[in-house]
């Protein structure tokens, strides 16, 4: 089997296919639809020190063959991320740090 591993900023990924930030949130929602074992990794949405409410709606508008969005970095903050979301992501780790 071809070795597709790549090393970026000191982290080794099994392959160079990463879900981009904003396309996968923290992974949970897509776990029923995507086999994460086939991915090199996923980039979570932004996590800030403190929670951010994000922008008032509307936040998205569809364009020809695309969309624009301005979510405003809505996120629960690092503490909630660590307690609520990290337990799901932790077993997905295969990279060697």
């Amino acid at each position: 089997m071809v070795d597709l591993a790549v090393r970026i900023a000191g982290v080794t990924f099994a392959n160079p296919v990463l879900l981009a930030s904003g396309t996968c949130n923290y992974g949970e929602e897509l776990s029923a639809l995507i086999d994460f074992a086939r991915l090199g990794g996923l980039v979570t949405k932004t996590i800030t020190l403190r929670p951010r409410a994000g922008n008032p709606p509307p936040r998205t508008v569809e364009t020809a063959a695309g969309m624009l969005n301005s979510i405003g970095l809505q996120n629960p903050g690092i503490e909630t991320f660590a307690v609520v979301h990290w337990p799901f992501l932790k077993p997905c780790q295969r990279a060697s740090w």
Partner: protein
């Protein structure tokens, strides 16, 4: 709930115009029909190309679980609804679902009052037939701008023991907003379920609050992914919910589209 979501190819089994610029389409989507509850929706990929790129979110208007069929009812207002409305029987359409948090369906009150405006009636038809199957007496208040935009009797009748109509132009039923009809129905401990334009929902919520009637509303928001990933379909709530539905804004596609009316911040919501 996410474990039950599937993406598959549905097939159009029937499609007909049922009111002015309103289409009624039946889809064979057994994975949705087997699991859906009233108030949930599907995301339909109506194009195999890049435009339109995003899927079309539509409430489920009816389910025949034994035959694996679902129904959608929608206003033909843009490219996606036009594409879907033109699809002939047998056409395949990508169908992701069932999605979202639906209505709490319980036959616990003397009467259920369903209030719908325009194609906001769609999820209420599924809800009404489910409530009736539980033996719940059900009244449907159906509003539209004009008589020609009203859904036909055969669709409304299955959702309620009694149907009252209103139209803005007075051509069918009561002349005025459908919320005018609510006052006479809010008696004797009823439960209210509503779907329609924001202004209508806000008025329904206010009337229910003043009479102490529990009310669930299904909101419509601009929606991109439908899965809770993009955070595009934000809905302002009065008090932050527990994680992961944290913060001032919840997602219409995951925590909703059905919310307790009192949970929403109506000043911010439109």
């Amino acid at each position: 709930m996410s474990a039950a979501i599937e993406d598959g190819l549905a097939r159009v089994v029937a499609s007909a115009q049922v009111a002015e610029a309103v289409q009624h389409t039946g889809l064979a989507a057994p994975w949705v029909a087997a699991r859906a509850v009233p108030g949930q929706f599907v995301q339909l990929r109506v194009s195999t190309g890049l435009s339109p790129l995003l899927r079309l979110p539509l409430s489920i208007a009816g389910v025949d679980a034994a035959r694996g069929l679902i129904e959608v009812i929608y206003a033909v207002v843009g490219p996606k609804t036009a594409l879907l409305g033109r699809m002939s029987v047998g056409t395949a359409v990508g169908c992701l679902g069932p999605l979202g948090h639906g209505f709490e369906v319980r036959a616990s009150r003397p009467r259920a009052v369903l209030v719908g405006g325009g194609v906001g009636l769609a999820p209420l038809l599924y809800l009404g037939s489910s409530l009736r199957a539980l033996g719940q007496p059900t009244v449907l208040l159906a509003g539209a701008r004009t008589g020609r935009q009203h859904l036909p009797e055969f669709l409304l009748a299955r959702a309620a023991d009694r149907v009252l109509r209103s139209s803005d132009d007075g051509s069918v039923g009561h002349r005025g907003p459908v919320t005018d009809l609510l006052a006479d129905e809010l008696e004797g401990g009823c439960g209210v379920y509503a779907c329609g334009p924001r202004a209508m929902l806000r008025e329904v919520a206010a009337r229910c609050r003043s009479r102490g009637a529990p009310c669930q509303v299904s909101v419509e928001e601009y929606m991109a992914c439908g899965l809770g990933v993009c955070m595009g379909c934000a809905v302002a709530v009065r008090a932050p919910g527990p994680a992961p539905a944290h913060g001032r804004y919840q997602r219409a596609c995951v925590e909703g589209p059905v919310f307790a009316a009192d949970a929403l911040d109506w000043e911010d919501h439109g």
